[in-house]
């Protein structure tokens, strides 16, 4: 892993303002921010490790545990909320057996809520690995994951 972090860093100059873009590329590569990578980034940009950690934990985009193979983002935008997003989340949690923010033990699924995926006219919606599943209700959610679980 150390090597690939160094690879990522080699594309940057080591300026402080690059901390966020570097964290973004690290997450792109590993699907999360491994703890060790933060020390490397701190050394590279010349700031204390605590500061890199502070930045990484401040922004919602960064996660510190690996993502599941199927990353499910449940939209909690206003339009989705009004159209029943809370029940969609509840159903997904029940079917997948994990809570919001968790990854299943077999690393198949991770579940997250997001502020808005911008598919407001198709509310309520879930984005699974970049594909939007639109106009859901609890029944459709169960079908969706039953199918997914069987396919997996």
């Amino acid at each position: 892993m150390e090597e690939s972090v160094q690879n990522i860093l080699s594309a940057y100059e080591g300026k402080k303002e690059e901390i966020i873009p570097i964290l973004q590329s690290v997450q792109d590569t590993f699907s999360y921010i491994p703890q060790d990578s933060m020390l490397e980034i701190a050394r590279f940009t010349g700031v204390p490790e605590s500061q890199v950690y502070g930045v990484a934990t401040f922004y919602a985009q960064f996660r510190f545990t690996p993502r599941g193979k199927k990353h499910c983002m449940i939209c909690r935008g206003t339009a989705c909320h009004v159209n029943g997003a809370a029940r969609i989340l509840e159903e997904a949690e029940t079917v997948l057996g994990i809570k919001e923010g968790e990854t299943s033990d077999d690393l198949e699924y991770s579940l997250e809520t997001v502020a808005c995926i911008g598919a407001c006219s198709l509310a309520p919606a879930i984005m699974i690995n970049g594909t939007v599943e639109a106009k859901l209700d609890p029944k459709k959610v169960r079908k969706l994951f039953d199918k997914e679980v069987k396919n997996a």
């Binding site: 300026k15 402080k16 303002e17 690059e18 901390i19 966020i20 873009p21 964290l23 973004q24 940009t45 502070g54 930045v55 401040f58 922004y59 919602a60 985009q61 960064f62 909690r76 935008g77 206003t78 339009a79 909320h81 009004v82 159209n83 029943g84 029940r87 509840e90 159903e91 029940t94 997001v114 502020a115 808005c116 995926i117 911008g118 598919a119 407001c120 006219s121 198709l122 509310a123 919606a125 939007v132 639109a134 209700d137 609890p138 029944k139 169960r142």
Partner: protein, 627 residues
């Protein structure tokens, strides 16, 4: 600027050929919303099937024309005919369109939305005469949905970069003067006059000044900027170059959400095209003005919509606001004078320079000039992106453009301005959509998100939803915001979960007011708005929860129960779909719900056939409820 005129002329003739040539032109709305609805499959089918049938045509991707409820949208322009728009086009219907319209010349009228351009087709209205589009005035969005956003020639051919040309001819002072005449107010939220902010920056002496475009559209339920970026990215670039020129800034940043991958892709391409055409870089078009644009991806923090927090984020720090003054216009990014404008404000700058201040002020009110893009969502029939003259009434917006309430339900309230705004009840539906009228009603224009609610939305729960958002997004710097939102959220959770106390309402108001006055930035100052406005207009709902243990909207689980009426025909649909096995009953006989097992998920209510409609939701003390 002979180079630019050459480019524009060349682009115009190829645009002309595309639109009036002897090949059929097909466009597919392929922005994020279209893609979510399946536009990519439609596009592939179109390409494959037209090739297979030997149909000569140009298929291009365009942005979103805003009729999101009709996505995917396809338009077909046959030579010598007006362009015909089709809505809700699935893959199957794409094949039908090709077979019927392109091959057999038989227009499937059931799919048509309207025609656009010269000429008419019998029984089909002009696109801009249909009720959802008629009251709209599309200016910032005028090219969105009609041009290919990846083709800079399409932008050139539609008046593109002519505003920049005029700006260079007029000089920076005249540009500011024109923007002042146009009365442009910031489209991002607060509505501060753009020219005034600019003049602080112009007066500041510095070797380096910056322009930042705030494209970190974080309001849940708002996607105006995304549509503009995806559908017409050059309009932002043109506005930024002009603004940079007026300010004397040589570097511009676009701070855009990482959650908008398509917008980022389109922006990167547009910047590259602008560089190739000498519109960005050194000595732009021989004017002596240098300007470059860099993209910074946001990492998901709502507070970064606040100017000083956004600056900290670009600098690579935690996005926490700092006290003003000094204002960013004097000391901003790395201590240099910095202007931050919203995407739509900057696109308007380009439009004003292209068409003049008089044209811009044709619409709007005395204090709020021009038009505004609005994301109209929630329980409304025609949800989507609209652009209306400022000053239009909320009623027109919801009922004329929006087409009324989904499922013909009863209108309850409309929320403007996202988490910083407030809810407006039916009595105030006739107020004007402009900065000042909305402020008077206790809400704000914000960036233009409008959420419509019907009587199935619980206002207490809705306020709780926004407080939950504000509490999570509070950066934690100011104690009243960090702890105040937390306390307010706890109280609201207590109320919706049945632990509300009589003193809660006053306490909410007291804490809310303290958060407003005790917070440094706009997030904290406005976070209590959803609670304060619902308390002002829907107090009885709070009281019903606390004193009567009722949820009038029948949403809060603690106060509702599901029951099966004796009209039940025993079809067994609810029984099969109940995930908690709470429903029992023999086939063709009345079913019952075991209240101890019921998790109140509501699936039975949804699956019960509308003809039978035997599930009833009751709210109030269980004693009053029939067994």
């Amino acid at each position: 600027m002979p180079d630019l005129i050459n480019l524009q002329n060349k682009a115009s003739s190829s645009w002309e050929r595309l639109n009036t040539g002897d090949k059929t032109l097909i466009t597919v709305g392929n922005a994020t919303c279209g893609r979510s609805a399946g536009a990519m499959d439609v596009m592939e089918t179109l390409q494959a099937e037209t090739a297979e049938n030997g149909i000569e045509c140009n298929v291009i991707e365009v942005g979103c024309i805003g009729l999101c409820y009709m996505e995917p949208i396809v338009s077909i322009k046959k030579p010598g005919q007006p362009m015909v728009f089709f809505g809700n086009v699935t893959v199957k219907q794409t094949k039908k369109l090709i077979q019927d319209y392109l091959i057999n010349d038989d227009l499937p009228t059931e799919l048509t939305l309207g025609t656009y351009g010269d000429g008419q087709i019998e029984d089909i209205p002009a696109l801009f005469d249909i009720p959802v589009l008629k009251p709209q005035v599309r200016r910032a969005l005028n090219r969105v949905g009609f041009i290919d956003p990846t083709n800079v020639d399409h932008y050139f051919a539609n008046n593109g970069y002519s505003g920049l040309e005029k700006a260079f001819e007029a000089g920076p002072e005249k540009v500011v003067e024109e923007i002042k005449l146009a009365g442009l107010r910031g489209r991002g939220g607060a509505g501060f006059p753009a020219w005034r902010k600019w003049s602080f920056c112009r007066q500041a002496e510095s070797d380096q000044k910056y322009l930042i475009c705030n494209a970190d559209e974080g309001d849940p339920g708002a996607f105006m900027n995304r549509s503009l970026l995806e559908g017409d990215p050059h309009s932002l670039l043109e506005g930024m170059i002009i603004t940079g020129y007026a300010l004397g800034a040589s570097i511009g940043y676009i701070y855009c959400r990482a959650e908008y991958p398509l917008a980022l892709e389109r922006l990167r391409l547009a910047i590259q095209q602008a560089e190739e055409h000498d519109l960005l870089g050194k000595n732009i078009l021989g004017s002596g003005f240098d300007f470059k644009i860099k993209i910074k991806e946001g990492a998901g923090a709502f507070v970064c919509g606040e100017e000083t927090a956004l600056i900290r984020s670009i600098e690579g720090q935690r996005g926490m606001p700092t006290p003003r003054p000094p204002f960013p216009a004097v000391s901003g990014l790395w201590g240099k004078p910095t202007i931050i404008n919203n995407v739509e404000s900057l696109a308007c700058v380009g439009l004003i320079m292209q068409n003049g201040a008089d044209w811009f002020t044709e619409y709007g009110t005395e204090q709020s000039k021009g038009t505004k893009t609005i994301a109209l969502v929630g329980k409304v029939k025609n949800s989507g992106l609209v652009e209306v003259p400022l000053g239009i009434s909320l009623r027109e917006l919801v009922f004329d453009i929006g087409g009324g309430i989904l499922g013909d339900g009863k209108f309850k309230a409309v929320q403007t301005g996202g988490p910083s705004g407030g809810c407006v009840p039916e009595e105030l539906l006739d107020i004007a959509v402009d900065y000042d009228s909305l402020n008077e009603a206790g809400t704000i224009m914000g960036s233009g998100g409008v959420v419509v609610m019907d009587d199935s939305t619980c206002m207490v729960d809705f306020a709780r939803y926004f407080l939950d958002f504000a509490e999570k997004e509070s950066c934690g710097k100011c104690v009243p915001c960090r702890l105040g939102t937390k306390q307010m959220l706890t109280i609201l959770e207590d109320i919706v979960e049945g632990r509300g106390k009589p003193s809660d309402i006053e306490l909410l108001e007291e804490i809310g007011e303290a958060v407003v006055v005790g917070s440094l930035c706009g997030l904290g100052q406005t976070a209590p708005n959803p609670v304060l406005t619902t308390l002002r207009y829907f107090r009885e709902e709070y009281e019903a929860h606390i004193f009567e243990r009722k949820c009038p909207a029948k949403q809060c689980k603690e106060f509702i129960s599901y029951h099966i009426l004796d009209t039940c025909v025993g079809c067994g649909l609810c029984l099969r779909n109940c995930s908690s096995n709470a429903i029992t009953g023999e086939p063709k006989k009345l079913h019952t719900i075991d209240q101890d097992l019921c998790t109140k998920c509501g699936v039975c209510y949804e699956v019960c056939p509308p003809k039978v409609f035997s599930i009833e939701i009751l709210t109030g003390e269980l004693e009053e409820v029939p067994a």
